[in-house]
């Protein structure tokens, strides 16, 4: 029984971190209506940024957030401004800008290969004060970096939610996500909103990078490991839904961790996909997806 408890706790913690990696994807999709295939690469950029910062300065990984988050925000902001916006403008009259999806795929390959050239293929791990630290609650072993990751996820999700609901900029983002033409008519500069949404999405990948570094390794295609999970989580939780992403992540994490106790862990991957397909059959908008017209 305590094994199941242990597996559940681990699943919730790890799952919340999956949710964190998916936050940016769901936000960008919600606003821009584009599936950002480069999301895993943005996570990779976040992880490398955190890795180098921690390695070179020895800073606490959570203090590193102060630097990594703005850095990644501007990275995302200008990537949207310089690379994606021109394509968007060319496709202005199309309801679902397919070319933009292809551009994000291009960005994915460019970023992954750039980091392969710059940093080499090797796996890198940075030892922080937190690496390998655990809390003991009776028999229960809780990994400290995963626990802090859980906290970081909740904080990030709540902040993001408050930002979208309470601030003027947040409301403008939501307005644009509802109807970009109407929002433009109301005086909202939709391209600026896209830049900001992309920036915020990338910044959350930066948060995930800082959270993962203390217990995970980084290499140029690390994004791919999380990418597919992110897509599943986002669809499971509902495209564009923030709490949906977090809960979707936790569901995936718990399934992965608990089911693995009863069967070979090779199976759990299959089960996650089976559940994914089932959700698409029963509730295509996801568990918490708003009924949108797209």
């Amino acid at each position: 029984m305590d094994l199941i408890l242990q597996a559940t706790v681990n699943g919730i913690l790890m799952g919340s971190i999956y949710g964190l990696t998916a936050l940016g994807l769901t936000l960008i999709f919600g606003v821009i209506k584009v599936i950002n295939f480069a999301h895993g690469s943005l996570l990779m950029v976040g992880m490398y940024t955190a890795y180098w910062l921690i390695l070179l300065t020895g800073i606490n990984p959570y203090l590193a957030l102060i630097i990594v988050v703005p850095l990644l925000f501007f990275f995302g902001y200008y990537m949207q401004e310089i690379v994606i916006k021109p394509v968007f403008k060319a496709e202005r009259d199309v309801r679902e800008p397919i070319t933009v999806i292809i551009v994000t795929t291009g960005v994915w390959y460019v970023l992954d290969n750039l980091s392969l050239i710059l940093f080499g293929a090797e796996y890198r791990v940075v030892k922080t004060g937190l690496s390998g630290k655990t809390f003991l609650l009776g028999e229960l072993i809780v990994s400290a970096p995963k626990f802090y990751g859980f906290v970081a996820t909740i904080v990030t999700a709540v902040l993001l939610y408050l930002f979208l609901k309470k601030t003027r900029m947040g409301k403008a983002i939501i307005a644009t996500s509802f109807d970009r033409d109407a929002a433009s008519l109301m005086g909202i500069n939709q391209y600026r909103i896209y830049n900001i949404a992309f920036g915020i999405g990338t910044a959350t990948a930066g948060v995930a990078g800082c959270v993962l570094i203390p217990f995970y390794y980084v290499f140029p295609t690390v994004g791919v490991i999380f990418d597919i999970r992110c897509f599943i989580i986002v669809v499971l939780g509902g495209l564009g839904s923030i709490h949906g992403a977090v809960l979707g992540g936790i569901i995936i994490g718990v399934i992965e961790s608990v089911f693995a106790q009863f069967m070979a862990s090779t199976w759990t991957e299959g089960i996650i996909y089976a559940i994914f397909i089932l959700i698409l059959f029963i509730k295509p908008s996801g568990l918490f997806g708003a009924r949108q017209d797209w």
């Binding site: 392969l116 796996y123 295609t221 862990s265």
Partner: protein
Amino acid sequence: MGKRKIWQDVSISIFAFLLVCSLVFFTGTLAQAGPKVVKIGNIIPLSGPSASVGVQGKNVREMAVEEINNAGGIKSLGGAKLKMIYVDSKSDPTVGVTAAERLINTNKVHILTGCWNSAVTYPTTQVAERYGIPFIVPVSVRDTITERGFKYTFRVAAKDSWWTRDQILFLRDMEKEFNVKVKTLALVYENGDWGTGFAAGWKKLAKKYGYQVVLDEPYPSTASDLAPVVMKMKKANADVIMLVSNAADAILLTNTMVEFKVNAKAIIASGGGHADPKFLENCKKNADYIFDEVEWETDVGKPGAKETNEKFNKRYGYNLTGESVDAYASMYVIADALERAGSLDPKKLRDAFAATKLDSGPAMIISYDSIEFDKDGQNKNAGIVIVQIRELNGKMDRISVWPKGARRAGYTPVFPMPAR
């Protein structure tokens, strides 16, 4: 005026055409006069989950080929130089097969090598066999690669059944030497070709020698979280944990096992990710006491081994591994066969490979005495060493412990390992 212009244009173009023709002819003859080039196609994982071992394989090939070329190339072919062509397999069998087709048909390579991942080597060697191009396999350990009666596949590394056999023999020797009884085994392995092949071997041997398998756990190498697997290891509480891991998962497993305080009398790994030099750098003390199985270790007592390793380390910043040594030796096997064949005809080249008996030269940094292929192209002599990872003088070190003849002088293995 108009007519004159046309004539001018025509004469200029004729002149230019002749000039180009003569240039092509001239450079053509020049190229023929120079030494021939032997093209070697290498299909190895340069990106994806096995990229770091792929890059090591590439580096060591570069060093060996440079040595061979600097020493005058292939003398029987008029000093022909070896020219390496690398293709990234991405550890994907389909990518490997297309790469082989392309290298043979477009690049017209004379010899192929690769592919590290058994799953890629298996179908890729089949392509080479169909075209009749010699394929040298430095490292891919799946048994069946050299059990298909192929004429053009030659493997330098030991088969994986030899690896599992030696791991269990080692374990039995340890039990005797330290008078400790081992009853239960936990088998934890990556779910690819390589891991499942090892597991099948272990299960057969466990039955034969009366060990009880209490956990049989294949896991995906690209898993984002291995804590669930580690929890099962903890619950199984086996005497000995047997591992097969690629690079990233070896790091994650080792660190998570320490976090969850998984205890066992011994942890026996199977090279691959555990033999990757980056493994120790990334896991440090967490890797203490792990036994690993390799074909070669830097402390092997062979002439030239130390120097070659130092040269390699100076160039690339890390030590040679058993797998890199196999790749290094493979380049000398190729040079030796080319030298004896004196021809680039695939048939003659194949026969030269089949007749290989390489027992001298720089390749002899290997842990055994000569490279010879049996009728299926398997290196008969490939040997295996078991090392223990230990922290010595504040540095993580890999120390040869088995077979006893290869044990580093003055070292006693730690068995069973202390509790965490």
